[in-house]
Amino acid sequence: MTSATNVNDRRDADARALDEQILRYIASDTPSDAEFKRLALECFAYQYERCEPYRRFCDRQGRTPKDAVTWLDVPAVQTASFATARLACFPRERTAIEFHSSGTTSSGERSSTLELDSPALYEASLVAHFRRRILPDASKMRIIALMPSRADAPNSSLSYMVQHLIDTVGAPRSGFFIEDGRLAFDSLFEALVRREPALIFGTAFAFVHLLDRCRAVGHRFRLPSGSRVIETGGFKGRSREVPRSELYAAFVDFLGVPRQMCASEYGMCELGSQWYDASIEDMLAHRASLGSSHPNALSDRLDLKVGPHWAKSIVVDPVTAQPVERGTEGLIHIFDLSNRGSVCALLTGDLGVEREGGFVLLGRSPGAPPKGCSIDADDLLTRGRG
């Protein structure tokens, strides 16, 4: 098995010193807002000085480190900018890892790239938050990964991430179950009938294929108690789309995993940290469960994306980029300390609503209309698709 962590550390002394402080903050059980603010402003100064396109962007916004008082004052770049400019605080020869988003499309959308000079922050952030939200009750668990392995997708942040989880919190017989771009059904079904809890981590489209096969061959698994499902990534046109509620109902029906033990991961190539639904954490903490006297509280948090304490989020107006009132729909704006090597303040293209403890994801911002002479045929066909 390939180790995701087998990557050179190419940081300079300044980067190491800043990372040490951030790592201490990540590891802290009692993180303070004051310390987050201090680190956020320090990262801003570091990135403004070393990342030329970002400095230009900040100058255009009229915001420099001298003007910033809180993390909210730090100019946030659109995540799409990672496709059009090199947003890294180190020269290219210091790049240790490079993640690319899904490839260039016919619509002209280019692939984003995140460069890291060291995996230290990325991995620390990944494992600390995963343990807290997804695996608070076990030190290790068998991980069944439904995505290409790191060897098959060397620039995929998701493959890197899950490989590292397998290396650190994965129990024996963890592994990837996509080979040559296809689900390896035989070995996957063998893995699903083992009498030990499993954590199935996969992309939505891989789950659709798995569930279609289960339906076709009449398999209904009942995974051992403690098993859980983590879904990520949406569909991106690679399989038939299935409404989220239907997909999660199928996890219950065909995998035998309770709804509360199924969660969605929100992450992206441009971000070092991840967000997870609160459902598993809540279930395990007995704060909410089916049949409780607070069913609304349960449903509210089923879709609540909760981030780590070293990454803050707010929701902003898509046009002005100014914060909106809580409960109002807008773009998700993130400040992630684990992005020290690129840009910490990011404005995503995703719509959400802020709630206590996190946000609810509503989907991609509709953005530009189809380019070219295209509107009506799309309408004609999408409505007609079964």
């Binding site: 953005g367 380019k371 698709r385």
Partner: protein, 377 residues
């Protein structure tokens, strides 16, 4: 033969009516499109241009070439983002002698009936050849019956949408999918003239069609690109009055704002002589009416709408050819300014551009370009 001659005469007469701002069809179209998102000036300009070269001689020549015998209609699924293809489709079909069903888009259902009525009033053999229809996409009560009754489908849509028609339609499908256009300003070009032409190509339908330039390459160094960009800024500012931008929705305003934020990162650093590399027009609907950005050379930047144009330096047209070959997008037109050797023009056509024309003419394709008369044969 008499039929063809008469048909050509009526086609020419009908086309002249569309070119005449005082004609009844123009008045009706003007009234019908009054509540559309497009400004009155853009609509008038589009109607002036759509059949600008369709006279009787041309109609007769094309009609002779493609005498039609199959009476079964052709279904045309019209686009909702520009109006030219509706009128062009009707006249191409007439030239080919084809009967057509014009399926209007959801947000513009008036032009097709106006064309049907115009053809009625022109008389036989054009009368009765257009069936103007509208149905909600995918309507199971209507769509299968229409698909079964036609001999061909011409659809304007995304590649995915067009690909999806095939399995559902028992007839051939001719799709006009998504593609993009770019501009090139040679060293010999007059910068102001080039900027004026480019501004018109950008302003018409706010780049929503496939023939509008998304990126304009300027032969030479960054300084020359910067100077062209400032000339374009001035021309687009002028076009804000002469061809005002369409109203946009809140979602579209958000997309424009997001695009500008993205371009603020990729823009070249402002030069020491003080010329900015990101210029924005006066705000409409909360976002700039247009945006010009100077970026480093590279693949085309495509935002798709909103009068957002990237200007990039380019060493030479040969470099452009290399960029074009490396770009993984489907290219439609190349608009150029200045002198381009004919052999290079031929090379450009071979390299993937469907059309090469002067800047300022990109949104004014000749009759029978898209769709073609042959599409209706």
């Amino acid at each position: 033969m008499v039929d063809t001659s008469l048909r050509a005469e009526l086609i020419a007469r009908g086309a002249a009516q569309w070119r005449d701002p005082q004609s009844r069809v123009r008045e009706r179209a003007r009234a019908a499109l009054h509540d559309s998102a497009w400004s009155a000036q853009v609509i008038e300009s589009a109607l002036d241009d759509v059949l600008f070269d369709l006279d009787e001689e041309r109609a007769r020549m094309l009609a002779v070439e493609s005498a039609n015998v199959d009476a079964r209609p052709i279904l045309v699924v019209l686009p909702g983002n520009i109006i030219g293809p509706t009128i062009a489709s009707a006249f191409c079909a007439a030239t080919a002698g084809a009967n057509i069903i014009l399926k209007s888009p959801g947000d513009e259902r008036m032009l097709a009936p106006i064309l049907a009525e115009q053809f009625e009033s022109l008389g036989r053999p054009l009368a009765g050849t257009i069936d103007a229809r509208y149905w909600k996409g995918g309507d199971p009560e209507i769509e299968p019956a229409v698909f079964a009754a036609v001999r061909k489908i011409i659809a304007f849509g995304s590649d995915e949408a067009i690909d999806a028609i095939g399995p559902r339609a028992p007839v051939p499908v001719r799709g006009f999918g998504i593609s993009y256009s770019i501009g090139f300003v040679t060293k010999s070009a007059d910068t102001t003239q080039a900027a004026s032409g480019a501004a018109r190509d950008i302003a018409m339908f706010d780049q929503r069609g496939c023939m509008s330039p998304q990126t304009i390459y300027v032969e030479g160094d960054e300084a020359r690109a910067l100077l062209f960009a400032h000339a374009l800024d001035a021309e687009l500012r002028r076009a804000s009055d002469t061809l005002p931008r369409a109203r946009i929705s809140r979602d579209e305003a958000a997309a424009v704002a997001m695009a500008i934020r993205k371009l603020s990162v990729s823009a070249l650093a402002p030069k020491t002589h003080g010329l900015d590399t990101l210029m924005r027009g006066p705000e409409i609907d909360g976002v700039p009416g247009y945006t010009v950005v100077v970026e480093p050379t590279g693949p085309p930047t495509i935002e798709g709408f909103g009068r957002i144009v990237s200007v990039k330096p380019c060493e030479s047209m040969e470099t452009l050819l290399r960029i074009e070959r490396a770009a993984s997008i489907r290219l439609e037109s190349l608009g150029y300014a200045g002198d381009v050797p004919s052999e290079l023009l031929a090379q450009l056509m071979q390299s993937g551009f469907v059309r090469v024309c002067p800047l300022g003419e990109m949104q004014r394709p000749p009759f029978g370009y898209r769709p073609t008369v042959e599409d209706f044969a």
